[in-house]
Symmetry: C2
Subunit: 222 residues, 2 copies
DNA sequence: CTATGATAGTATATTTTTGCTACTTTGTCA
DNA sequence: TGACAAAGTAGCAAAAATATACTATCATAG
């Protein structure tokens, strides 16, 4: 490289800006496991590997809007719980160029999702989190997301975002158990969430055991 | 030049990429209050208003490195506790152009900080959080930082980052009380932190009351 | 050299939460 | 009609959180 070329390059880099993307980890519960939506990459880099849903941030949209757009394009979903996770800016996280990724996670009850034709599919979140075959730093993002969910289950109502609007208490308890990774005592669990739920007058039916009451989340009066 | 004139000439049309900055809220405790470091802006926009310490993210540095650099330039500090907070990307958060800001917060004991000549000064964090006279969305960032600290005090050791290496229990308790905004019971507080501290054989002296034992943070054996 | 004020530090009672076990209830199915 | 399976409830013991009362030790004033 000549000096002239170097200076040109240096000058350009000085005013250059990193690209900014959002990457979104959509979690749901299927088969009594926490799952996360991943897509098979068709292009380099990481061709053939799994990656999160993502997109470049447009100049005329906020970060949240970018996340919603990316999610909507891949799943058709809207109006679901989502939250920003963390922003990743290591120099080498994308081999092509400098990319800063604002990560999000989202929660959806599996009953309300109908994956359209496409390359997006749910995988065991734990397996993704522990795999070293995932594109970019997306395994780490999933790990971070799982951790965040685990923490927030204890002091927020995010678990309700993983069940349908109408649900039974055994169903809700199962969600807590899966997220926390441990069995809970029925009686204690019910005491704890008693003030967060509202009974309907419906019950389950058709199963070979005692039917279960159906509840909804109580709207908090603020 | 008025702010309007300035904005008019600043007609950098839509680039394909947003600018990325880091903004850092350095917290400390002074006069029994949580304080945050702010600087008086000398340029438009928000000339004369208070803003957080910040910088553009260089193309050859990670986000964390940018934050450390910004902090070091303004305070000379290094090796202090800091953590990423949230990333702000509203379209109108900077009137000049599209700027995405990755915010951080940092904690330092006031005893170990010696502000160099400059425009940086500590202000009451609550006052900054509730003021509508702060540059950009930095009031919101401070609010968010305070909230994060309040939460983390309960399940991490961040309070130790606000006292010197050697401290007394009344001193440490005061930090907890300021962060949580409520009085704590002495006996209960001591039970709770008993396994996090290590006694030295030193005591305070010279004060007109019973002297106090001096402790250090116990290194956790992992 | 003693009483006092002020804060450090400890002992103990009370209430709430959690961990756990055992029991009763109510459906389907053979 | 009895067996099974899961829903739902009762209640106790241990542990943790909450709260109050007490003792200890310094400097200083008288």
């Amino acid at each position: 490289m000549t000096e002239q070329e170097f200076l040109k390059q240096y000058h350009r880099e000085d005013y250059d800006r990193p690209s900014v993307t959002v990457d979104l980890a959509l979690f749901t519960i299927q088969d009594e496991k926490l799952k996360v939506l991943m897509i098979h990459r068709k292009e380099h880099p990481f061709q053939g590997k799994l990656s999160l849903v993502g997109t470049f941030v447009g100049m005329q949209e906020s970060l949240d809007e970018s996340a919603v757009r990316a999610l909507n394009q891949k799943t058709g979903l809207h109006d679901i719980y989502f939250e920003q996770l963390y922003t990743w800016g290591n120099l080498d996280r994308d081999p092509r160029m400098r990319v800063i990724s604002v990560s999000y996670y989202a929660l959806v009850p599996s009953e309300s999702i109908q994956l359209p034709e496409g390359d997006a599919q749910f995988y065991s979140a734990d397996e993704i989190a522990n795999s070293d075959e995932i594109a970019f730093d997306h395994s780490q993002i999933v790990r971070y997301g799982i951790e965040r969910i685990r923490n927030k289950v204890n002091y927020t109502d995010i678990a309700f975002s993983l069940v349908p609007e109408e649900f039974t208490l055994p169903q809700l308890q199962k969600v807590y158990e899966i997220l926390l990774g441990q069995k809970l005592y029925k009686a204690n669990f019910r005491k704890k969430i008693a003030d967060k739920i509202q009974p309907t007058n419906k019950m389950t039916s058709g199963e070979a055991h005692r039917p279960s009451h159906i509840y909804r989340k109580k709207e908090s009066i603020c």
